[in-house]
Amino acid sequence: MLEQHLAVLPIILPLIAAPLALILGRSIFSWGFATLVSGLAFLLSWQLLAAALSDGVLSYAVGGWAPPWGIELRVDAANAFVLLAVTAISTLVLVYSKHSIEKEVKAANHSLFYTAHLLCLAGLSGILITGDAFNLFVFLEISSLATYTLVSLASDRRCLTAAFRYLVMGTIGATFILIGVGLLYMKTGTLNMLDLAERIDLYDSSRTINTGLAFIMVGVSIKLALFPLHMWLPPAYTHAPSAVTAFLASTATKVAVYVMIRFIFTVFGIDHVFVDMGMGLILMALAVVAIFKCSYMATVQSNVKTVLAYSSVAQIGYLVLGLSLVSVSGLMASMIHIFNHALMKGALFMAVGAVFYRVGSVDIKDFAGLGRKMPLTMAAFTIAGLSIIGVPLTVGFVSKWYLVIAALEQDQWLVAALVLVGSLFAVIYIGRIIEAAYFQKLPESRSSENIKEVSWLMLVPMWVLVIANIYFGIDTSLTTEAANSASEWLFQTNSMLENKVMEGEVLEGHAIEEKAQEVSS
Amino acid sequence: MDFLDIVSSILLLAGVFFGFSGAVGLFRFPDFFTRIHAASVTDSIAAILIIGALLLQTSFDLNTAKLVFILLFLMVTSPTASHALAKSARHGGLLTLAETRPQDKQGSAK
């Protein structure tokens, strides 16, 4: 029973849990319930990854209607891997959020907070798993609406304008995706991604398809905050409640990157996107500019959350850079970095949230002397910060290593050098904060305040991520294996897809076969 | 074209005529209260005539019931809306033409 429905469960579990969390009403109950559900979703996605690694691909026809008529869920190594990271972070953040939320969100809204969190989780899982282009839009909107709500729950009034800006940008992005999907549908008559991939190539030179591709790319770029379209991200991350920032920074943009990967590799095909349209160069240029511009911006901010938000935009540059290299190793570097960056940023924002919990604001000057007052929090911050910089024995090093290797493989010396130079900026912006924490004295005005370490409920999830930062930095087998099979899988489907074009109508038969199988089972 | 069709056409054209005259009244009358008068009265008569014409086209089924429902609904809501709007305009301080003309000031006492 469980194996049969493994693909759909990570979506519907939080989806059904969300209204229940609202009905529970009391803060403590909905917290416990949400954490439990998220933990279950994590276990399920672990199973799902194992199944995907052994069986290749799991297809699930919702409603029993065979694709392309019904909605198909498709799990492969790639999205199972990202899903694992998302559910893991979600569970840890939920554990962490109990105290953090008590401080930052007013009591009447607590159960609404957990409901919105579960909705966001359901939306993100849906985006990852679905194999239907329009269904993706629906889940994108579920997660986005929940995100706007989560961002606006903070007590500072600036979160409202940040959330509004996010809402306008996000809706424009979603509408662009809707336009793009519509154009594709117009030319192909189908919405199923696999089926789309088949039929798009029949109209290779079509201007309509190319416009659709462009609109989907721009829409997704808004959602993932690619460089010139990132303006919504820093205010949203800065003013959202800390737990929300920790969750969003390590999941939402990653999921958007996955959507981009999925559209490029399994729908349009790399030949079309990179060779015919020349998107590779555009993406690479934007990524490099993002790394430099936003790393620089991060060094001049005074609010630590803003620093980390700009750093996130820069890290998105690394992600996009990897996939713009168009090679198995480049894609693998991106996949690894999706996972690793989730670990780093999750830990960093949790540490910052802990500081906010005790100190009440997170300017760099407020970090002065915290190394003594909150040793565990600041140690976590330091290790995760080193990981961002890319110091060996941390996951950050692994990501950079694979990225540089992938660049060198293609003789892109300049790109490899730029990646390394980008790290120097990270040294500066992380260094400023660590310097304040350890080498500056606690200001006199604060010495009377009772600043002490936060409770274990906040420390444990933070340290789980920190230890994961080190563990996966040393034992890279799990991440590299999963990322490798994910990216090989993506390239394989891509080449399969290109072969099918030669053979013409093969998929029609394939689809019919699948349908027959389902009827008999 | 049988008898019902002819009656129906006549009603339809009459309804359209009243609709037009209301629309013209919307522009040609001098103040708001006369304009709303023109609009609301013709609105009602046009609705009666046009829906009456369509009623003759049906063969006493669900559509007839729906048309009757629409007609009743419009009969109730359209004058109500006009009345409430005029009242609201009056409370909001809008004056009739007679009141705005200085020489008629003494005549404007309510």
């Binding site: 909107e141 336009i179 919405l191 820093p234 | -």
Partner: protein
């Protein structure tokens, strides 16, 4: 001429979309931004519905003696999208109400001045 007849619908729809998009990105008042967003989305819906139309077809509800129906799939997609649109509008307007309470204005440049922009 047939070229125009084939495409005029799409062109007007594109114009409408861009009018809405322009309002979103140029308006300074937040309520107007939301209105623009709605116009933008509604026009995209028209794009979808236009492609579902079959000349000479009729609405996809089975009637005796009709064989040519318009495509029901875009209708289904747009029903969903309309709901998504109104959900976004509601949340956006709620944010505007809160912004008015917090800042006393709903003009973008005015509340920007009231906070130090990050």
């Amino acid at each position: 001429m047939s070229f125009i007849l084939d495409y005029y619908n799409y062109w007007v729809v594109v114009f409408l979309m861009m009018a809405g998009f322009y309002i979103v990105i140029s308006a300074n008042n937040l309520v107007k931004k939301i209105v623009g967003l709605n116009i933008f989305q509604t026009s995209v819906f028209m794009l979808y519905i236009s492609m579902g139309k079959v000349s000479g077809g009729t609405a996809p509800i089975v009637v005796e003696g009709v064989t040519q129906y318009s495509n029901p799939l875009p209708h289904v997609l747009i029903l969903t999208a309309i709901v998504v649109g109104v959900a976004t509008t509601a949340v956006g307007l709620a944010l505007i109400v809160r912004i008015k309470r917090a800042y006393g204005t709903v003009e973008e440049n005015e509340f920007d001045n009231k906070d130090d922009v990050i």
